[in-house]
């Protein structure tokens, strides 16, 4: 979870947005964290570079919990 939070904050910083301090499995990527489609694309790329899994390859991911599920096989 810490690594995911770190990557989320990198993406936020690259768009000049404030970092988040708390996230949980219910945190919504668009509604709570404030990501738009370009941010989600960057998030995907950074997660893939770290975990070697493309979280959007087979469907939309909405929450931090859903990212955890996608990365779960690891």
């Amino acid at each position: 979870m810490e690594k995911i939070k770190e990557i989320i904050n990198t993406v936020l910083a690259n768009r000049g947005k404030a970092p988040i301090t708390d996230i949980n499995n219910d945190s919504h990527l668009r509604n709570d964290i404030g990501f738009d489609s370009l941010d989600l694309a960057e998030l995907t790329v950074r997660l893939e570079a770290e975990f070697d899994i493309d979280i959007f390859e087979d469907g939309i991911v909405n929450t931090v919990g859903e990212i955890q599920t996608k990365l779960a096989p690891l």
């Binding site: 690259n14 370009l38 694309a41 960057e42 995907t44 790329v45 950074r46 893939e48």
Partner: protein
């Protein structure tokens, strides 16, 4: 800068690779085969040009073979030049679906897939990169026998315009070179009379200079062109 170029074995791609190397850039070149000229370039500049044999009719291995295994996550890509193309020419009433599908794979589908991973790579490295697609004057001025070929290039023009709009906010630019007929292998099927007819339609009354096209591409890749995106730049001896 690290520049990914398709079709580097001959013609414009080879000229572009030489120009990029002369300007101090690193070339990541793709082509099906290694020509003797390309072999020579690789030998002269082993530290400036990397080459991978890849057939662009294969769109399924773009991610794994080109980006994961060859370029790798850690190498930033600053520019992509979609240069390679198949030119299948015939009149429309003879359209052959197998040849048409092959041409669409090489000219459109695989370059679009490569663009997907180029943009992803640019996002990973925070690179404000530049994408240049090669189009053809045949899109804008019809030529008998080139309807199918021109349709693939028209698709790239639309794709580039929308790439520019979609990714401009991230500083990623996309432009088109609308090239006239050059004296390369691509137009070797034309006889002298056909070439003369084509050149007569240009303002300069001659073939488009390969070096002029290569230099314009290098300009569009560079920061000098940082305010140019979503454009079609005609380098075509003034075909009007």
């Amino acid at each position: 800068m690290n520049i990914l170029v398709t079709g580097v074995s001959r013609g414009l791609g080879l000229e572009l690779a030489k120009t990029l190397i002369n300007e101090g850039h690193n070339v990541y070149g793709l082509s099906r085969n290694k020509s003797s000229e390309l072999e020579n370039l690789l030998h002269l500049h082993p530290d400036r040009i990397k080459w991978l044999s890849y057939n662009l009719s294969n769109s399924t291995d773009v991610k794994n073979i080109i980006f994961k295994e060859w370029i790798g996550h850690n190498t930033p890509i600053h520019g992509f030049v979609n240069n390679a193309a198949l030119a299948y020419d015939d009149i429309i009433t003879n359209l052959n679906m197998t040849k048409l599908e092959e041409m669409y794979k090489v000219n459109v589908f695989t370059p679009l897939e490569i663009t997907k991973y180029v943009i992803r790579h640019m996002l990973l490295h925070n690179v404000k990169g530049s994408i240049v697609h090669l189009s053809s004057i045949s899109v804008h001025t019809g030529y008998k026998g080139l309807a199918m070929y021109a349709s693939t290039k028209g698709a790239l023009e639309a794709f580039s315009k929308n790439t520019a709009r979609e990714w401009g906010e991230k500083g990623i630019r996309s432009n088109i070179i609308v090239s006239g007929f050059m004296e390369t292998d691509m137009s070797e099927g034309l006889n002298v009379q056909q070439k003369e007819r084509i050149y007569k339609r240009t303002s300069l009354k001659k073939a488009t200079d390969v070096n002029s096209v290569a230099e314009t591409i290098v300009f569009l890749l560079s920061n000098k062109a940082c305010s140019i995106t979503g454009q079609n730049i005609h380098v075509d001896s003034g075909t009007i």
